[in-house]
Amino acid sequence: MKARAFPLGLGRLAVQFGALFALAMLAMGLVVFLVAQQRIARRIDDALEYHSSKYLAPDHGQPASSAVIAARIAAWQAQKALSERTYILLGRDGRVLAGRLRIPLPPPGFSQVRYVSRAHVVHRGRALATRLPDGSLFVVVQHSEASESLEAILPGVVLAIFASALLAGLAATMLFARQTALRLAETQAAADAIARGDLSRRIATERLDGMFAAQAASLNRMLDRMEDMVNAQRQFSSALAHDLRTPLTRLRGLLSSAQPTGAAVNDGLIERAERECASVIAIFDALLRLAELETGRHPTAVAPLDLGTLVADVAETMEPVLADHGGALRLGPVDAAVVRADAGLVNQLLVNLLENVATHTPPGTTATLRVERAREGAVVVLADDGPGLASEDRSRVMRPFERGPESAGRRGSGLGLSIAQAIVRFHGGTLALADNAPGLEVRMTFPA
């Protein structure tokens, strides 16, 4: 199986984290903006209060009258340089007593005002209006330029903050993902190797830290335990093989030494006993082989293999066998298809299946072998026109020791199809039984 490159495809996760980070930064920007605006407003108000009090300051011990204030305004106008502030005095009827600014009558205290400058530009300002004892209104207006410019740059600032936060968030998540992936890659590589049957593989922990190291260590402990168990089982089957074969060898020796002295009546009996010896060992071999294949312990010579050549070869070998059983074998269209496979195992697979056809179909059955190329790889198809299998039997016969309904009394371990399936799986392929109407079709797909 091809190992995927780094899953920088934390994918959605990276985008989600990036967006979250950007939103947080945006909220922070808004808070900063609001605080700054507050501060500026506060300072404007302070300045208004200060300048207002300057104009309202008592004149020779007497509270300043409208006339005094009007005079002070006139004096300011006379010597005024550029200023962001302006002063007006309005009579109780709203008439302007002093000052040049034209604004609607503001309420006493602080308020927002709009006014038109001499350049006919509408400005916004902050006003502090103070009611004088004689009923007239003294107003200081400050053009809130700082606040205005702050609001003018706001959209740009917000956009910039959002974009850079999004980028920073994405980058941070990617970096985090990559660092995580680098650490997980060790685990992944080890797990893949173990899945391929290398139980001695462990996760290298030197370069890991924190939870990754802890996780790797506990996985390694699990693998130690698993390897112990598998080894124990392997030794058990080795010992069993040995302990079963040795008495069978003795038995066979004893039987054949009995032969010369035995009467003729014993002759057939001894031969049959020898055959039974052989079939006990054959079943045992098949079981061991199945176990080897399924646990990935089969010594394998996987190399590029031309299925077409191999299928033609097996067809040559098995054609006389099927003919001797009263059937026939034809070689159908064979596409050239090179797959990575163990030739010995694929030979066994096809021979097993053809032997099934030879022994489990009535005389007159014709089997056809062909090789097709499909999107998912190469497909070897073995079809026969025999009685076939009912659909419920098709899944049953793939299990160890299960046989088709017609096979009672026939020889064989009942492991043939299980081994065939184990061989196909060993190559990462699939084996499927289908109705050939009439007959059975076996499709073996090998990944390209």
């Binding site: 020796g253 004893l254 010896c277 060992i281 071999d285 312990r297 066998v321 003919a323 059983h325 022994t359």
Partner: protein
């Protein structure tokens, strides 16, 4: 032919020794790996039948020790109760000349012992192989006898070539499966019988029938029948 049988199980050892003597060969017996190395140091043997599982040194350790002796060492048939393909490969890689899984038929053991003792002198490939008037043409996959020619498929051609190379010697079904087909599994049908019988039919058409069936276990291609 003088053989050394290294086998710790007395019943199996007796059976093998009887079989060898019955086939006209002399044989010594060693029950342990060390005893085997002693025997090999003292005497000359034409072949060794070596059990893989011995009480002291394992069979593979004995093989390794023998390999130290270089070219002069006799060919070894490794006997083993471990029948898996991995064990077979291990046995051959350790320097065994052939490998036989228990339980085995005596005829099988004799045939294989014959094959490995003669293998070193046997000719290499099938180029211009001829036994008497029966000849093979590898470029056309054809067999000729007395000017008549039969085209064979690749399997039948290899089968005939193998039998001609081992003319007048017994080749068993298992040996043919291993050497002609390269199958490391036991088929449940008579693959060898069916192919040999097909081959015989083709040869009979040419007017020659040199392949004899040995009761139970194998075949012999008689050079006398091709003369």
């Amino acid at each position: 032919m003088h053989c050394l049988v290294v086998e710790d199980d007395p019943v199996i050892a007796a059976h093998v020794l009887d079989g060898l003597r019955g086939a006209g060969r002399s044989a010594d017996h060693a029950a342990t790996g060390r005893a085997a190395l002693d025997c090999l140091a003292r005497g000359r043997y034409d072949a060794v039948v070596l059990d893989r599982m011995l009480p002291d040194l394992g069979g593979l350790a004995v093989l390794a020790a023998m390999r130290g002796a270089g070219e002069a060492r006799p060919p070894v048939l490794v006997l083993s109760a471990l029948g898996s393909l991995a064990d077979r490969i291990e046995g051959l890689e350790a320097g065994g000349d052939d490998y036989l899984a228990k339980p085995f038929a005596m005829e099988e053991l004799l045939a294989r012992l014959n094959a490995i003792t003669r293998r070193r002198a046997a000719p290499g490939d099938a180029t211009g192989l001829a036994v008497g008037r029966l000849t093979l043409d590898p470029s056309r996959h054809a067999a000729s006898f007395d000017g008549k020619q039969a085209l064979l498929n690749r399997k039948l051609f290899s089968l005939l070539a193998h039998m001609m190379r081992h003319a007048d010697r017994v080749v068993t079904r298992d040996m043919l499966l291993e050497h002609v087909w390269g199958y490391a599994f036991a088929p449940t049908t008579n693959i060898v019988e069916s192919n040999v019988s097909r081959l015989r039919t083709r040869l009979v058409e040419l007017g020659v029938d040199p392949i004899e069936t040995q009761r139970g276990h194998g075949y012999v291609l008689r050079s006398g029948a091709c003369a």
